[in-house]
C-alpha cells in the first residue's frame, strides 16, 4: 500500500477512536510513514529502473516485518515511562496499522531475516491490488478532508 494511504487510514481511525487526530497530525504523519523509509536503499539501488519495478517484498528491510515490529514495540514500552500515554497509543496504532495493511494486501516476508519465505494472503487478486489501492486512496482522501475541515 502506498505511503499516503497509510497516513490517511491512520488519521481516520485515530480520529474515530480518540476524536482529536488533528492535534496529533505530526506524530501521525511521522509514524504512519516512518517504516516506509526502508524503501530508500532499494530505490537507490534500482535507480533508473525505479518506475518499471514494483515495491515487492525485496524492497522492504527487516524493519517492515515481525522483527522490526518487535524492536519498535520494545522502544515504545521503554518510552512509556517518559511520554504521554495518548501519544504512545497513537504511535503504536500508526505503526501497527501500517504493518497490518502491508501484510493484508502486499507480498511480505514476515519472519525475514530468519527465512525468506514470501507470503501473500490473497484477499484480493494481485492484479486488482493497484486498482483497490487507487480507489481506497481517493475515497479516504475525501474522508480525510471531511474529518480535517468538517
Amino acid at each position: 500500500m502506498n505511503t499516503l494511504l497509510h497516513f490517511l487510514i491512520s488519521f481516520i481511525i485515530i480520529d474515530i477512536i480518540f476524536g482529536n487526530a488533528k492535534g496529533y497530525i505530526l506524530p501521525i504523519i511521522l509514524f504512519s510513514m516512518l517504516i516506509d523509509l526502508d524503501h530508500l536503499p532499494y530505490l537507490i539501488n534500482v535507480k533508473k529502473n525505479v518506475f518499471k519495478r514494483k515495491f515487492g517484498a525485496e524492497s522492504r528491510s527487516f524493519l517492515h516485518e515481525l522483527l522490526g515490529l518487535s524492536i519498535f514495540s520494545s522502544i515504545i514500552c521503554i518510552l512509556f515511562f517518559f511520554l504521554s500515554l495518548r501519544l504512545l497509543q497513537i504511535i503504536s496504532l500508526c505503526l501497527l496499522l501500517h504493518f497490518s495493511l502491508d501484510f493484508l494486501f502486499g507480498i511480505t516476508r514476515p519472519l525475514y531475516p530468519f527465512t525468506n519465505k514470501k507470503i501473500y494472503l490473497g484477499i484480493v487478486k494481485k492484479e486488482f491490488v493497484y486498482i483497490l489501492e487507487t480507489f481506497l486512496t481517493f475515497i479516504l482522501l475525501i474522508l480525510f478532508l471531511v474529518f480535517f475541515y468538517g
Binding site: 514495540s73 515504545i76 503504536s92 527465512t115 507470503i119 494472503l121 484477499i123
Partner: protein
Amino acid sequence: MDKPKRSFLGKFSQNFIQKITKNLYLPKINPNKISALSVIFSILFIIFFNYSRIVSLFVLLLVLLFDFLDGAIAKRYYKEKIDGYIIDVTCDRISEGIIFSIFFFPWFFLFSINLWLTIWSFYSKKHIVLPLRHIFIFYLIIKIL
C-alpha cells in the same frame, strides 16, 4: 523447512480443538483469508470500543472464533504447511498489537514479549507464545460486568 513444535499445552489444545470440531461442519475456505479476517475484526474492535462495549466484546469473540476456525479448517482440508504457520502467528501478533495499543498497560508490554517469543519460537523450533487475547477477553468481560 519445519514448523516449530508445539509444547505440551499447545498439543493438548490442538487435540481438544480436533475433538470439538470432529463432527462439526466446516466450510472449505482458504484458512489464510480467515486469519486475515481476525486482523480486520481487530481494527473493528478498537473502533467499536468507545461506542458500545457489548458490540466490541462480540467483535472480539469473532476475532477469537476466526483464530480457532483457521486452525481447524487448515487441519481438516489442507495439509499444514510452514506458510500457514507463518501467516497464523503473524496475524495473531498484529491482531494482538492493534487490540492492545489502546489498552496499553500492561497489555502492550505483554504483546512485545509475545513478539520476541514468536521470533524465538521460529528460531528454536519450539512454539511458545502467550494466549494474550484469550486472557484479555476474560479481563474485558469482568471489566464490562
